[in-house]
Amino acid sequence: MPSPVPLKALIDQLRQASSSEALVLATRALASSGDPGAAPVLVEVLGYNNPGAAVAAVDGLVALGAEAVDPLLRLDPDNYGARAWAVRALAGIGDVRGLELLIDALGSDVAASVRRAAAKGLGNLRLDPLEPPIRLAVQQRCLNALLAAGSDGEWVVRYAVAVALESLARQLEPASVAWQRLEECLVALCEAADDNPPVVQLRARVALDRLDAQ
């Protein structure tokens, strides 16, 4: 539903916010406008170093979906804080244009919270609209990135890998080599080890059981 307040008024309100709380409220209002014109401003908010406002901006960007992808990809790559939030937004949107940023974040971001969001995002890309050869190539890249992250040092990232592999598997040909490599990774995540906590083992086991039952 279009907002009764014009976009310009919402943006002015955000730019004039004089306190952290006011910024959060103004961001929420802009995020719920559902207006694609809000996307560049919401992306700007990701760089304000205000977690409450950034959470609201990410929600708004995810709700905008494909309309938010371009402004997100134009983000200054040197603004680390903003980029971490952008990874979360792109992971939630699931648009294939976010592929490179998600793969890069999963493989090299210093923050486990960003790597875990990137992993989940790689399992959630919407690939149906793609031509079959391109779809296969994208699936392959998602799979390779997730398999590499299966040995991430942080449990929460490996947990996210198990979740992402489960959703990626649903799009793969069951008898394929890709499926077999995916299954191997889940089996490894099920194994008890000093640095592999029970919750990761359990999540990987649940993924394998659900895929078996499919």
């Binding site: 977690p51 486990a112 919270s113 449990w155 929460v156 947990y159 979740v163 919750v199 999540r203 649940v206």
Partner: protein
């Protein structure tokens, strides 16, 4: 439980990774305490199983030095890090329990705090009595604020948590912990409720922790999340989902509900909530 100081290395040569034998060598020398400080942290962080790790950490625990502000090193920094590392090396560090018990009487309360946590990690039953003695004077004495710092007379949070971790529901232990439920500071109330929940499993202590998830201070909500996770209190699932705090902490709390808890809600519901928060 508050987020513990990570005791990050003061000097780690710009993040250059070191080997286990290098860490052992740096801890063994005593010309440069900042190298020992980093080495002690490293051995704990990496869960070293080197046969010399525990004996060297026990030696380091006896090392006393004044503050060295120039090097950014706090008082007894090496000993504090050694205590933390011994806790992380549980159960292999059981031999260090007598040394840690001795440190519970140290005049440096930061060192007493690190020792208490380590004894909790080691599930040291022999620590029950001395810890209870430190807390016995109750919230108005052991738990009184110091006139000159934001700290309490005793490191109550660490001491209470250790009693919960050691896990012996002796009536004498419960009698020492219960008065701290009424402490003026919400973080201490949270630590006491966590210990009582771990020791008795009584829902009233879980309910108290859940009510702290509505506290207006983020720091208190974070502590309650960690404490609910440590106690594995599954009825808190919905409140954990809704409380305004970082997803990273909610995920740690939910991991605790899965691994430490039992009963309803079942694991499927816990995992579904974790999946959403990634």
């Amino acid at each position: 439980m508050t987020a513990r100081p990570t005791a990050a290395p003061a000097d780690h040569r710009a993040g250059e990774p070191i080997s286990e034998s290098e860490a052992i060598a740096r801890l063994r020398q005593n010309a440069d305490p900042s190298q020992q400080y980093y080495a002690a942290w490293w051995l704990g962080r990496m869960r070293s199983q080197h046969p010399e790790a525990v004996p060297l950490l026990r030696d380091a625990l006896r090392q006393r030095r004044g503050r060295d502000p120039g090097a950014g090193i706090e008082e007894n920094a090496v000993a504090r890090n050694a205590a933390r590392a011994l806790g992380k090396l549980a159960p292999a560090a059981t031999d260090a329990i007598p040394d840690l018990l001795a440190v519970l009487g140290d005049p440096d309360d930061g060192l007493r705090e690190a020792a208490a946590r380590a004894l909790g990690d080691l599930r040291a039953e022999s620590a029950l009595k001395p810890i209870c003695q430190l807390l016995a004077s109750g919230p108005n004495q052991a738990g009184a604020s110091r006139p000159d710092s934001p700290r309490l007379m005793e490191p109550c949070e660490a001491l209470l948590e250790a009693l919960g971790d050691i896990g012996i529901a002796d009536p004498a232990v419960l009698a020492v912990v219960e008065p701290f439920i009424d402490h003026a500071r919400p973080l201490i109330r949270s630590a006491a409720a966590r210990a009582l929940l771990q020791l008795t499993g009584e829902p009233r202590w879980g309910d108290l922790l859940v009510s702290l998830l509505n506290h207006h201070q983020l720091q208190v909500r974070r502590a309650a999340l960690m404490d609910l996770g440590a106690a594995g209190w599954r009825p808190a699932l919905e409140s954990i989902r809704r409380t305004p705090a970082e997803n990273s902490l909610k995920l740690i709390a939910l991991r605790g509900l899965v691994e430490q808890g039992c009963g309803a809600p079942a694991e499927d519901a816990l995992l579904a909530c974790m999946d959403e928060l990634l």
